[in-house]
Symmetry: C2
């Protein structure tokens, strides 16, 4: 029997370090040629498995695979596609097994967030039920940092570093100009459900009272009156005010702030702008301050040029650990980051059962949020600070980062049926 092949796929929103996990996984698999054949990667995530579009990574040079470590985005394509439940429709899972059989795949690595861990768990179950030997290992990834059982999720540390750095830089700009110009700056960051990314803005502060002066988290119901009072007090005492707002910030009734402006375009469509312009206008209307706002959007999660070295290292280590778990005979597990010390920050690889990880979201605990709801506590700072530590610059060429582009050659299809 030929050596078993491995399947790997990237799932959901990509990050600036998900390719570092791919790099760790492929390099480690290549180092174990006796046990693992090829690493075949789904083109556009799990869709690649369903469509039997499998990228043959053995065609890629050692140098290009190494370059994945510092290339943002998803080098093989990712997708937003959630498999149905096994009960609802097992056809998708059966198709996966058919494709795996046809290509002698016995290792399944799925790199994604909560949904993906759930999928990996189901694939593992189906393998058992269909008596097809398959080890399914999840690899955590999400800028939202909302997976349980792991100290942090690859992708988050780099977004956190980007948001802290950008907030610090923009705050210096606003402070310079506030005497005669802009007095309020609002930066909108990601985090639809959990406020980890917005919270990281606080790492811009060197001293108490430094910008950002206000952070709006999804975990805290927005209190307009208290918010405006704090903006006004800050401008009066500091001359300017910097606000970091999570895209998921919401009112007590659950309605997103972004919906509240009721902005309509010429066609009557709501929500032309985002949360930042809504909040900025709220301030302008109530207090009259000149404002500027920025929406970082994809810039924040693709900013590999400013990645956290800690994050890159962990992303790589988790990809590597996934292969090691598989070689150790494990299945239905996910390698995790276990923090063993805050200062100096020390961590090791741990392990979580996929059945427990699936579909659990981790929010900012109350003890991480200041009493007034507009900032983070020393405890939160202790947790967050090490995650943005260290720089890991990509190589630059002609003034811009040089990122690898793989050949992404597909292996020949073997199944008579299309999906």
């Amino acid at each position: 029997m030929p050596k078993p092949n491995a399947f790997y796929a990237q799932s959901g929103g990509v990050t600036s370090v998900i390719n570092a996990s791919a790099c760790g996984l492929i390099e480690t698999a290549r180092a174990h040629k006796a046990q693992i054949g090829k690493v075949l990667v789904g083109r556009n995530g799990i869709l690649g498995a369903l469509n039997e579009e499998l990228i043959d990574t053995s065609k890629e040079s050692k140098k290009d695979i190494a370059g994945l470590r510092s290339t943002p985005g998803g080098a093989f394509g990712s997708c937003r596609f959630k498999l149905k439940s096994l009960e609802e429709d097992a056809r998708e899972y059966r198709r996966l097994i058919d494709v795996f059989k046809a290509h002698n795949i016995h290792y399944f690595f799925y790199n994604g967030g909560g949904d993906s861990q759930d999928t990996a768990n189901k694939v593992s179950q189906l393998g058992k039920r269909m008596d097809y030997p398959l080890q399914a290992i999840g690899i955590p990834k999400t800028v939202d940092n909302d997976l349980p059982f792991t100290d942090t999720c690859p992708g988050f540390g780099s977004v956190a570093k980007y948001v802290a750095t950008s907030t610090k830089e923009a705050a210096l700009d606003v402070e310079s100009m506030c005497e005669t110009s802009t007095k309020v700056f609002v930066l909108e960051v990601m985090g639809r459900h959990a406020g980890w990314i917005a919270a990281a803005g606080a790492l811009a502060q060197q001293h108490s009272g430094d910008a950002p002066h206000i952070i709006l988290l999804p975990e805290v119901a927005f209190n307009k009156k208290a918010f405006l009072a704090k903006v006004s007090a800050t401008v009066r005492s500091k001359g300017f005010c910097v606000v970091v707002v999570s895209e998921g910030a919401r009112f007590a009734n659950g309605k997103f702030l972004g919906e509240s402006g009721a902005a309509k375009d010429a066609f009557g469509h709501a929500q032309l702008g985002g949360v930042a312009p809504t909040v900025a206008n709220m301030i302008k209307d109530a207090l009259g301050y000149k404002y500027h706002w920025a929406v970082a959007d994809y810039l924040q999660r693709s900013a590999r040029h400013l990645a956290s070295a800690t994050d890159v290292e962990q992303a790589y280590a988790l990809g590597k650990a996934a292969v090691e778990f598989a070689l150790a005979g494990k299945t239905a597990v996910m390698p995790t980051i276990v923090r063993t010390s805050d200062q100096p920050y020390r961590w090791k690889i741990g392990e979580a059962k996929l059945s427990k990880v699936a579909n659990v979201e981790r929010f900012m605990p109350k003890s991480y949020i200041t009493k007034d709801g507009f900032g983070i506590t020393a405890k939160a700072r202790r947790y967050l600070a090490p995650l943005i530590a260290g720089e890991d610059y990509p190589v630059f060429k002609n003034g811009v980062p040089h990122y690898v582009r793989l050949q992404n050659q597909l292996v020949a299809k073997r199944l008579p049926t299309k999906w």
Copy 2:
């Protein structure tokens, strides 16, 4: 007679390298202690001179002054304040001369854009008319790159590098996801009148056809039909489309795109969003593609972490040259960057008369814009490429850049009158 002091002020929107010019100026003045006394800096720009709020830079350590080279924003405060014309109201100019006399200031250095060069010119004229020996030297600065007679303006190269890098990174993100998710990404960048910054987005391209696929410049009247056709064709051929839009993009009738959405908030105020959401919605309405958009705003012009080494070097050199010009007895001039070779890029310091610089804007020439108006030519690329070359990273501390904060001690006032 005590040695003459120098006055320096930062004017208008700050940049990530304006402090590098201050660094070059102060370090050079300190190296000529025999000829120049103190460098006194206007707190919040020229307002500091009017208000007799003069920062004594001799109180700052050598290390902190050196740190200015890698600190964004305006370390002494800047302002948006345009002096009236001499004919309209000469009081402001007389007040300046009074303050300069009181503090033995005979060198006037003004670091800003076109308006500031005009002001410096007038101050020089008034000195002559009032028989007060004063040498006025302008130092160019503007992210918009729209000053004449200089190959480029300090601040621009770094924004250009930020926009090119961010576009490249975000494009990789969108490309990864486009099969099942976002197909169009719109990045809004600065440049109210000239399209230099948006044009720099094209430096993200490694090969022809790479993102960004469309650039919307203020110099080209927006043609909605042609634009939508190009977006649609790009999505069909590439699977996704990346657009970089200048905040100054406008219709043939001169109306800004940002005004056209006619977005109203709950209070009926127009322009909640920016140009990016307007353009994104236009695409959604006509073509139905899922989109994301980002507005970089202050992030782009304060991103010292990603400064162009060329830009930093030139900003420093112009500050240095300003002092050298003054020591050589010159007045009413501005040091410029003269390009002596494209490849390899070579430049030297030149000189322009302030009377000619004042209030002239330099736009993208037609030969820099592709026929369809949505891209830049090889000629433009040859001009732009060297300006973003080289990295000049600040020191990081605790995961974020460490930027200096000066003491900014004011000298005692000597005038009996307030402004």
